[in-house]
C-alpha cells in the first residue's frame, strides 16, 4: 500500500465518525479513565481544509462526552490541522506527537492538556 493512497482527503462526516469511534474507545479504556480521572477539558477540533469540519470534544473527569458538531463554549484547548491528519490521529493510524512535532497539527492551550490528550490516544491505541 503506497502512502499516497492512504493520504487521500476525508470528509467532515468521516472525521466526525472517527471522533465518535475515538470517544467510544476512550470510554472503553480502563487505563484512560483511571489515569485521566481528574482531567476535565473542553477541546475544539477544527480541520483547516474543511470549513464545516469543526467539533467540540468535552472530557469531564476522564469521561469523554458525545462529540458535538460545531464549536461550543470557550475551549481549554484548540486542535487544528488538516482533516486527514486529524482523522488519522483519531483512527489511531498516526502518532499525534509526530504530527505535532512536524507542525502538521497545531494546538492552543495548556501543555498539560495537550499531553493528556496525547496520553488518551496512547492508552487507547497502544494499550499502555
Amino acid at each position: 500500500m503506497s502512502a499516497d493512497v492512504s493520504r487521500d482527503a476525508v470528509s467532515a462526516e468521516e472525521l466526525h465518525e472517527a471522533l465518535v469511534e475515538y470517544v467510544d474507545k476512550a470510554n472503553a479504556s480502563p487505563r484512560s479513565k483511571k489515569t485521566l480521572a481528574s482531567w476535565t477539558c473542553r477541546i475544539h477540533i477544527q480541520a483547516t481544509d474543511l470549513p464545516d469540519a469543526a467539533f467540540t470534544f468535552h472530557v469531564i473527569k476522564g469521561i469523554a462526552q458525545p462529540i458535538v458538531q460545531g464549536l461550543e463554549g470557550v475551549p481549554d484547548l484548540v486542535v487544528r490541522g488538516g482533516s486527514m491528519d486529524l482523522a488519522e490521529i483519531f483512527w489511531g493510524d498516526a502518532n499525534p506527537v509526530s504530527n505535532y512535532m512536524q507542525g502538521a497539527i497545531k494546538t492552543q492551550g495548556r501543555a498539560d492538556d495537550v499531553m493528556r490528550l496525547d496520553a488518551m490516544a496512547m492508552f487507547i491505541f497502544l494499550g499502555q
Binding site: 500500500m1 469543526a54 464549536l71 470557550v74 475551549p75 484548540v78 505535532y100 492552543q108
Partner: protein, 475 residues
C-alpha cells in the same frame, strides 16, 4: 456557539497573561547558579564596574530575544526547538543539538541542588557530608512532588519570582549602602572584559525557555513582551547584586558555593543571611518546578515521536512520565555528588554557559537559513537588521561559547569543552546508531496501520456502491 475561524486567535478558558509569562521567563533564568555566575564574573572585572558586564550581557541578550521572538512567531509551539531546527537543518543534526542542549537543564538542576545544600550546611554550621544529605533530600522531594503531578500554579510562580527579585535587590542595595572598605581589590591580572561579558550573558540564560509556553497565550506578542520584561528585571536585579557582591566579598569568599549568603550576612547580619537562604531556596522552587516539568515532558514528547525508547513515554496514574522524572532526579543527584567531590562548581557554570551560547548560535543560524529558504513566509515578529544580523549572532555566540568552554574562573581550562564534547559524542552515537532502528519500527507500524485503514475504507466504499447499485436495480 463560539465563532472561531482557522486564522483567528482563539479565546481560551485559561490563558497565560503577560505577568505570568514574565514570571516564568524570569524565574527560569534566575537560578541559584546565577550567584556563582556573578562571583565568577567578579574574577574578571572589579566590583564597582561589574554592572557594566551585566548590562552589556543584557544588551546582547536582547539580540537573542530577537532571534527567539522571530522563531517563536513562526512556530508558536512547545515543540518549537525541534520544529525550527528540523526545518533549517538535517533532522539528525537538529536532534543531536537538542539532546546536547537538554543536558544543560540537568546541569542547572544538579548545580542548584548542590548550591542549596552547601548554603544550608553553611547556615546551620554543618559539614560537606551533611550538605550532600540536604542535596539528596531536596532532589528526592522534587522527584516525589513531580511524580505526584504537583507543580507550582501560575499565581504561586508569580509570587515566588517576585520575592526572589525584590529580596535580591533589597539585600543588594543594603549591602551597597552598608559596605565597608572595598574588599575585592578588582580584576587584577585576570582582567578580561570578554570573559566578563560571557558571564554577563550567562546570568540571563534560560529566559528563552518561556517560548515553550507559546500555546498558552492568546496574543502571540505576549511571549515576546514577556522576554523583554524578563531581561529588564534580570538586568536591574543582577546588576545591583553583582555590584554588592563585588563591594562586599574578598577573593576567598567569592570562591565559595554560597557567596550570596556572605553578602547578606555582611550587610544585615545573621537574619539577613537566613533571608538570603530562603531566597536561594525559592530560586530552586522555580528551577526544579520549571526544569523537571519542562524536561520530563520534552523527553516524553521525543519518546512519543519515536526518537527515544518507548519506556520513556510510560505514564503513571497521574499522567506523569515516570522514567524521565526518575532519570532527571537520579542524574541531578549524581552530578551534584560529582561537583561536591571535585569542588568543580565553576566548571558547571562554564559548561552551562557554553551550552547556552551554542543554542544561541544555532538559533541565529536557523533565523538566517529560514529567511533565505522561506523569505515570504509570514513572520509575526521580524528581528531587526535582517538575516545578516542573525548570522552575526551565530558567529558571535559561537565564539563566546568556545571561549566559555575553555575558561574556568580566571584560568584557561579545557575541562568544560571536553564535557560538552562528551555529551555531543554520546548524543551523536545515539542518534546515528539507535534512532534509525526506532524510526524503522515506527515507519513500519505506521505503514501497516495506514494500509489496514485504507483497505477498510475501500471495502466500505465498495459496500456502499453495491448497496446503491442493488437499490437502483429493477426488482
Amino acid at each position: 456557539m463560539a465563532d472561531l475561524t482557522a486564522t483567528e486567535p482563539p479565546q481560551l478558558s485559561r490563558s497565560l497573561s503577560l505577568g505570568g509569562a514574565s514570571a516564568i521567563s524570569t524565574g527560569l533564568a534566575f537560578a541559584a547558579i546565577n550567584f556563582l555566575g556573578m562571583a565568577a564574573l567578579l574574577t574578571y572585572i572589579s566590583g564597582p564596574l561589574s554592572w557594566i558586564a551585566v548590562l552589556a550581557g543584557g544588551v546582547l541578550i536582547l539580540g537573542v530575544r530577537g532571534l527567539f521572538s522571530e522563531l517563536n512567531g513562526l512556530y508558536p509551539t512547545a515543540a518549537g526547538i525541534r520544529l525550527w531546527m528540523g526545518r533549517a537543518m538535517n533532522d539528525r543534526v537538529a536532534l543531536i543539538i537538542t539532546l546536547t542542549y537538554m543536558t544543560a537543564i540537568v546541569l542547572v538542576i544538579g548545580a542548584d541542588a548542590y548550591i542549596i545544600g552547601e548554603a544550608l550546611a553553611y547556615a546551620f554550621d554543618n559539614g560537606h557530608l551533611v550538605a550532600m544529605v540536604y542535596v539528596t533530600v531536596l532532589l528526592v522531594l522534587a522527584t516525589w512532588l513531580n511524580l505526584r503531578g504537583i507543580k507550582l500554579a501560575g499565581v504561586a510562580e508569580k509570587i515566588v519570582t517576585s520575592i526572589v527579585v525584590v529580596g535580591t535587590v533589597a539585600i543588594g542595595v543594603a549591602a551597597i549602602v552598608n559596605h565597608g572598605p572595598v574588599a575585592h581589590p578588582g580584576a587584577g591580572s585576570s582582567s578580561s572584559p570578554l570573559q566578563a561579558l560571557i558571564l554577563g550573558i550567562f546570568l540571563y540564560t534560560g529566559f528563552e525557555w518561556v517560548t515553550t509556553n507559546a500555546e498558552e497565550v492568546t496574543k502571540p506578542k505576549t511571549i515576546q513582551r514577556a522576554m523583554l520584561v524578563s531581561v529588564l528585571v534580570l538586568a536591574v536585579s543582577q546588576a545591583v547584586f553583582a555590584v554588592a557582591m563585588g563591594l562586599t566579598l574578598n577573593g576567598e569568599q567569592l570562591g565559595t558555593a554560597y557567596p550570596q549568603l556572605l553578602v547578606a550576612e555582611a550587610a544585615l547580619g545573621h537574619v539577613g543571611m537566613l533571608v538570603m537562604l530562603a531566597i536561594t531556596a525559592l530560586t530552586a522552587v522555580n528551577t526544579f518546578n520549571g526544569g523537571f516539568v519542562t524536561m520530563s515532558r520534552f523527553i516524553y514528547a521525543v519518546a512519543r515521536e519515536g526518537k527515544l525508547p518507548r519506556a520513556l513515554a510510560r505514564l503513571n496514574d497521574r499522567a506523569v512520565p515516570v522514567l524521565p522524572v526518575y532519570l532527571l532526579g537520579g542524574s541531578s543527584l549524581v552530578l551534584a555528588g560529582v561537583v561536591a567531590l571535585t569542588g568543580s562548581f565553576f566548571v558547571m557554570v562554564s559548561v552551562c554557559a557554553a551550552l547556552e551560547m551554542m543554542i544561541y548560535a544555532a538559533a541565529g543560524y536557523v533565523v538566517w537559513r529560514l529567511r533565505r529558504r522561506d523569505p515570504d513566509q509570514a513572520r509575526p515578529f521580524r528581528m531587526r537588521g535582517g538575516a545578516f544580523v542573525a548570522l552575526g549572532c551565530t558567529g558571535l555566540f559561537g565564539l563566546l561559547g568556545l571561549l566559555a568552554s575553555v575558561s574556568v574562573g580566571p584560568d584557561i581550562n579545557p575541562v568544560p569543552l571536553l564535557i560538552v564534547l562528551g555529551f555531543a559524542v554520546l548524543a551523536t552515537s545515539y542518534v546515528f546508531t539507535y534512532v534509525p532502528r526506532l524510526e524503522r519500527r515506527e515507519a513500519e507500524e505506521l505503514a501497516a496501520r495506514r494500509a489496514a485503514r485504507a483497505a477498510a475504507r475501500a471495502a466500505a466504499r465498495a459496500g456502499t456502491q453495491v448497496v446503491e447499485a442493488s437499490e437502483g436495480a429493477p426488482s
